[in-house]
C-alpha cells in the first residue's frame, strides 16, 4: 500500500510484541455485527501516474482565468501573485506542521502569525488582529456575535449592500442564537443613510457595512461612523477588501470597532473559492471577546524573545461551551501566503496594485458607459469593481461571452437586478483585454 511504511514482517513482529495472533484481535471492542463484511465500494486504486492523468483530464474540463479573459470578482479576485509566495508555502516545514501547540518547536509558524497580525493591523489601522478566520463571511458573522457578546445586545444591522454570500453565512451563524438581523435599505447602490439612522437604536449591538460594497460602490463610512457612534451605543463593523486599503480610508480613520474581510486577494489563488481566509481586527478594548487564535511575543527561560499562543482562555479548548468561538483549525497557510505576499509587494507594490486596479477599472467603466445599451448602474465612487446595466439579462450576456472566451463578470440577478453585471478589474488586466470585453459587449448589443 502506498504511504504505509511497515512491511508484513514488521507487522508480524509488532503483533507478536502486542501479544495477539491476528490484527482482528485488536478489534475486540467493536461488536462483530457492527463491522463491515464487504469491502467499501470505491474505484479500483490508481497509481500515481494514473491519478495524475485522471486529474489532468478533470482539470482540463475547467476553464480558467489564464486561458480566458476574466472579469470575475465579488470578493474573490485574480490579482498578481509573485512566484516566490508558492515557493514558501509549499515548504513542508510550514505545510506539514500542525497548529503551533508546542511553541518551542513551532517558532516558525508562531512568528509568521505574529507578523501576519502586525500586517493586518497596519493595513486596517486597528490595534489587534487574530490569526485568521475561515473566510470573510464567517469572520463577519463572528464579528456580529462578538459585538452582541460585548454589548450584551441582540439586534444587529446589516447594510443591504452586503455580499449575499456574507449574508447567507451570517444568517446561519446567527439565527439559532437569538440575534435579530435587520437589513438597512439600499439607495442608488449604497446604504440609505437616512434609513440607517432610523434603524440604529439603543438595542443595537452593531452595524455591519461593507465597503466597497457588493455593487462595487464606496460607502460613506465617515457619515456611517457618525451615525453609529453618535451615542456610542453600537459597534461599527467594517467589511473591507484588503487591497482597497492601499488607496481607500483605513477603517481606523472612520473609527471602525471591528474590521473583517475576505483575505484571498492577498497572495492566494482563487482555487474555485477555497481556501479563502477571513481577517479579523479590532480595538484593544475588545480583545477578550475576540474569536480565534492570537499569537503574542514573550520571553523564554533564558530571557530570549519567542512567540506563543496567547489569550487562550477565550478559546474552545479551555472555555468549551463558553468560548468566544468554536474555531480551532483555521486557514493558517492562506494567511502565510498573505504574509509573504504583503512583504514582497511592500507598501509601494500594494499601492501600485491598488492604483492600477482603480485606474484600469475606471478606464473600462468609462468605455462601457459609452456603449449603446449599456449603462454604469450607480453614480457612486468605486474602486476596482462596478455594476453595469446590461441590455439583455446578465445571465444571457455572460453565457454569450463565454463562447468568446470571456468571463464577463458576476450576474447580479439574485439582488433583484436581472440586468445587473458586476465587473471586476485587477492590475492583471491589460488594455487589450479590456478593449476586447468592450468590443464583445458591443457585439452582443448589436447582434
Amino acid at each position: 500500500m502506498p504511504f504505509i511504511s511497515n512491511t508484513d514482517k514488521e507487522r508480524k513482529e509488532m503483533l507478536e510484541a502486542i501479544g495477539v495472533a491476528r490484527f482482528e484481535e485488536l478489534l475486540v471492542n467493536i461488536p462483530e455485527k457492527l463491522r463491515l463484511t464487504q469491502p467499501l465500494k470505491l474505484d479500483e486504486p490508481l497509481s500515481e501516474l494514473e491519478v495524475t492523468r485522471r486529474i489532468n483530464c478533470i482539470a482540463a474540463k475547467n476553464r480558467h482565468s489564464e486561458a480566458m479573459n476574466s472579469f470575475m470578482g465579488a470578493g474573490v479576485y485574480d490579482h498578481f501573485i509573485p512566484a516566490a509566495v508558492d515557493h514558501i508555502i509549499i515548504r513542508p516545514e510550514f505545510l506539514t506542521a500542525y497548529t503551533p501547540y508546542q511553541a518551542e518547536v513551532s517558532q516558525g509558524t508562531l512568528q509568521f502569525i505574529y507578523e501576519f497580525q502586525t500586517l493586518i493591523c497596519e493595513l486596517t489601522g486597528m490595534e489587534i488582529a487574530n490569526a485568521g478566520m475561515y473566510d470573510g463571511a464567517s469572520a463577519a458573522a463572528e464579528a456580529l456575535l462578538m459585538a452582541s457578546r460585548h454589548t450584551r445586545k441582540e439586534k444587529v444591522i446589516l447594510a443591504g449592500t452586503l455580499h449575499p454570500r456574507f449574508y447567507d453565512v451570517i444568517r446561519s451563524y446567527t439565527e439559532d442564537v437569538g440575534l435579530e438581523l435587520v437589513i438597512a435599505p439600499v439607495k442608488k447602490g449604497a446604504t440609505d443613510l437616512d434609513e440607517l439612522a432610523k434603524l440604529i437604536d439603543k438595542d443595537t449591538a452593531g452595524v455591519l457595512v461593507q465597503t466597497p460594497n457588493y455593487y462595487g460602490c464606496l460607502e460613506d463610512m465617515q457619515k456611517i461612523d457618525e451615525l453609529v457612534h453618535a451615542q456610542k451605543k453600537a459597534l461599527l463593523i467594517a467589511a473591507v477588501d484588503p487591497i482597497s486599503l492601499n488607496v481607500l480610508n483605513s477603517p481606523a480613520e472612520y473609527h471602525a470597532d471591528i474590521v473583517v474581510g475576505e483575505g484571498q486577494a492577498l497572495g492566494n489563488k482563487m482555487n474555485y473559492g477555497g481556501p479563502l481566509f477571513g481577517f479579523f481586527a479590532s480595538s484593544f478594548s475588545l480583545q477578550r471577546s475576540m474569536p480565534g487564535r492570537i499569537v503574542g511575543g514573550t520571553l523564554d527561560l533564558d530571557g530570549k524573545r519567542g512567540y506563543a499562543l496567547t489569550l487562550q482562555t477565550r478559546e474552545q479548548h479551555i472555555r468549551r461551551a463558553k468560548a468566544t468561538s468554536n474555531i480551532c483549525s483555521n486557514q493558517s497557510l492562506a494567511c502565510l501566503a498573505a504574509t509573504v505576499y504583503m512583504c514582497l509587494m511592500g507598501r509601494k507594490g500594494l499601492r501600485e496594485i491598488a492604483e492600477q486596479s482603480t485606474i484600469k477599472a475606471h478606464y473600462l467603466a468609462e468605455k462601457i458607459g459609452k456603449l449603446n445599451g449599456f449603462e454604469i448602474a450607480f453614480d457612486q465612487p468605486f474602486f476596482k469593481e462596478f455594476t453595469v446595466k446590461t441590455p439583455i439579462p446578465a445571465k444571457e450576456l455572460i453565457d454569450k461571452l463565454v463562447e468568446k472566451d470571456i468571463l464577463a463578470g458576476v450576474n447580479l440577478a439574485e439582488t433583484g437586478m436581472k440586468n445587473g453585471l458586476l465587473i471586476a478589474v485587477t492590475e492583471k488586466k491589460t488594455k487589450a483585454q479590456m478593449d476586447e470585453l468592450v468590443k464583445a459587449l458591443e457585439e452582443v448589443n448589436n447582434g
Binding site: L40, E66, P92, S106, G297, L301, G346, L407
Partner: protein, 496 residues
C-alpha cells in the same frame, strides 16, 4: 530568535515587478479625496531575497511531519503525499473563480461530486456536504442540521445536546454556536459513555448526542448501538465527531451503526496537510432524511453526464456556512488520496494505524500509567501520574508538560497533552499508519529514557527543552504583557 521582517525594512527597497500601467488616468480623478487613505501604509519594504531568507529561516524553526515523528493524538499527523501538492497546482484548479458559469467548471464539479459519493460510501451516510472548512465548522454544520430537523418537525423545544466529558472542546463550543444547550455526561470507569448515567439524562428536550468514536481515549464505544437506541427513543439524533475516523476505514461505517450525522476531518484522515493550523476541510455526512437540510449547493449529476450546483432544497437547507464550496483545493487532495488507496488501501490505513498504536501502548505501559489498559484503536492515552508521584516538592514535581518538553529535546514532537480532560496529566499518542516500526521504536526508547531521567535526573525534564530554537516560553507573560504586533513590541522595548 529570528528578527521580524519589520526589522529588515529599508525604505525604498522592493521585492516585486509589475507591468507599467497601460491606460491613462490617475488615482485622484478616480477616487474622491475624502475616500482616500491618509498617509502611507507602514508595510515593510524588503527585497525578494530578504523575503525568501526570512521565511526560510522561520521555516527551519518548525517541527513538521517530514522532519520527524509527530504523535499528536487526535490530529492524525500522517504523511501528506507529495503528489497532492503537485496536482493541486494545476491552473485548471488554481485559477478558477467560484462564480464562473457552471459550464466552465465541469471538472471541478465532477471531482466534488465523486468526493461527496466516496465519503458517503466510506461513512455509510446517504450524502455529504463538502462546504465546512474545518472539523469545528463541520460540527456546527451538523448541529445546525440537527436543529433544522427538529424545527422542521415542529420540535422547537429540543435544545439540549448531550456529550461526554471526554469530548473535544470544539464540540461544546459548536453546540453553543448552533443554539444548543450542552449537557456533559461523565464517562464511566472504563472511559466510555456511562449508559446508566445517560439514561438519567434522556428527556424529550434532548436534541441529540455527540460522540467521538473511537472516543478521545482511543477506545471504541462498544455500546454505541445502545446509546443510539436511547437517543433515538426521544427522536434525538446521533452525531459522530469523525476526527478519529482513521481507526475505522473499511472496518466500520458510522452511518450503519447508529449515527445520523457526522463530520470528517480531511486534514486528518485523508492526508491533506495541516499547514500550521489549516486550511483543513470538514465535510458532513447525514442519513437519508436529513439530506434536505444540508447546506446549499450540493453537486448533482444530470442525466447527460454533466454536473450542476443544486440549490433545490433551499427552503429546508440550513443555508450556507462558507462563501462558496469550502476548501476546494483541500478537497482535491483528499480525492486524490482516496483514489490512490481505494477500498483495500483505506482498510490497510486503519489496520496499520491500529497496530502501530497498540504496539507503542504495549511497549510503554510499563513505564507510563495507562488508565484504560485495553486494546486501543488508532491512539491511546497514557499519563504522567507515575512520574508526578515521584517528587512531593511542588517545585520538583514532574508534570506531563515536562515530559512533553523533554521529548522535544529528543527530536520528537510531543503527544497531545492535558486532553482529554478526564485523564489527569494526559498524553494522547497517535502514531498513524505512515510511521515505520523503526520510528516507533526510536520514540519508545526516547519515552523510556525520559521515564528513567524522571527518576534520576528530574531537572532534565523540569528545565527542558534545551536544544530547541527557544527554551521554555513564558505563557503568563504573553498574556500579561500583551505583545500581539510589532508596534507593541517596540513600545514594550521603549518602556523597559
Amino acid at each position: 530568535m529570528a528578527k521580524t521582517i519589520f526589522e529588515k525594512h529599508s525604505q525604498g527597497r522592493f521585492g516585486y515587478t509589475l507591468p507599467k500601467l497601460d491606460v491613462q488616468g490617475d488615482i485622484n480623478s478616480c477616487i474622491p479625496e475624502k475616500f482616500q487613505r491618509k498617509g502611507e501604509l507602514p508595510l515593510p519594504e524588503v527585497s525578494e531575497l530578504d523575503v525568501m531568507r526570512h521565511f526560510i529561516e522561520l521555516s527551519h524553526l518548525n517541527h513538521f511531519i517530514e522532519k520527524g515523528f509527530y504523535p499528536l493524538g487526535s490530529c492524525t499527523m500522517k504523511y501528506n503525499p507529495k503528489i497532492n501538492e503537485t496536482l493541486v497546482r494545476n491552473a485548471g484548479f488554481m485559477d478558477v473563480h467560484p462564480m464562473q458559469p457552471q459550464c466552465t467548471v465541469q471538472g471541478a464539479l465532477e471531482l466534488l461530486y465523486e468526493l461527496q459519493n466516496d465519503l458517503a460510501e466510506i461513512s455509510g451516510m446517504a450524502d455529504v456536504t463538502l462546504q465546512p472548512v474545518a472539523g469545528a465548522q463541520g460540527e456546527f454544520t451538523g448541529l445546525k442540521v440537527i436543529h433544522a430537523y427538529h424545527k422542521f418537525n415542529g420540535n422547537h423545544h429540543k435544545r439540549k445536546i448531550i456529550l461526554p466529558d471526554s469530548a473535544h472542546g470544539t464540540n461544546p463550543a459548536s453546540c453553543t454556536l448552533a443554539g444548543f444547550e450542552v449537557i456533559e455526561l461523565k464517562s464511566n470507569e472504563k472511559g466510555k459513555v456511562d449508559i446508566e448515567e445517560l439514561k438519567s439524562l434522556i428527556s424529550d428536550d434532548v436534541a441529540g448526542f455527540m460522540l467521538t468514536n473511537p472516543n478521545t481515549l482511543g477506545l471504541f464505544e462498544s455500546q454505541v448501538e445502545k446509546i443510539a437506541e436511547l437517543i433515538h427513543s426521544v427522536d434525538g439524533l446521533m452525531y459522530m465527531d469523525g476526527a478519529n475516523l482513521n481507526a475505522l476505514l473499511g472496518i466500520v461505517q458510522p452511518g450503519k451503526i447508529g449515527f445520523d450525522v457526522m463530520h470528517f476531518n480531511l486534514h486528518k484522515t485523508f492526508s491533506t496537510p495541516h499547514g500550521g493550523g489549516g486550511p483543513g476541510s470538514g465535510p458532513v455526512g447525514v442519513r437519508e432524511d436529513l439530506v434536505k437540510f444540508l447546506p446549499v449547493p450540493m453537486v448533482r449529476k444530470n442525466d447527460d453526464g454533466t454536473f450542476y450546483l443544486d440549490c433545490s432544497h433551499s427552503d429546508t437547507s440550513i443555508g450556507k456556512v462558507h462563501s462558496h464550496y469550502g476548501n476546494f483545493s483541500q478537497n482535491v487532495r483528499a480525492w486524490i488520496y482516496i483514489k490512490m488507496l481505494g477500498a483495500e488501501g483505506l482498510r490497510e490505513v486503519s489496520r496499520n494505524a491500529i497496530i502501530n498504536a497498540n504496539y507503542i501502548m504495549h511497549k510503554l505501559n510499563k513505564y507510563f500509567h495507562v488508565q484504560y489498559d485495553e486494546h486501543c484503536m488508532h491512539e491511546f492515552v497514557a499519563d504522567g501520574s507515575w512520574q508526578k508521584k515521584l517528587y512531593d516538592d511542588p517545585d520538583k514535581q514532574i508534570k506531563t508538560l515536562d515530559i512533553a518538553k523533554r521529548l522535544l529535546d529528543k527530536g520528537f514532537h510531543a503527544p497531545t497533552v492535558y486532553f482529554p480532560l478526564i485523564i489527569h496529566e494526559a498524553m494522547m499518542i497517535e502514531p498513524t499508519e505512515t510511521e515505520s516500526k523503526e520510528t516507533l521504536d526510536m520514540f519508545i526508547n526516547a519515552m523510556i529514557e525520559i521515564a528513567s531521567e524522571a527518576k534520576e535526573n528530574p531537572e532534565l525534564l523540569k528545565d527542558a527543552p534545551f536544544t530547541t530554537p527557544v527554551r521554555r516560553l513564558d505563557d503568563v507573560r504573553a498574556v500579561k504583557v500583551l505583545d500581539v504586533k510589532f508596534q507593541d513590541y517596540m513600545k514594550i522595548k521603549e518602556e523597559d
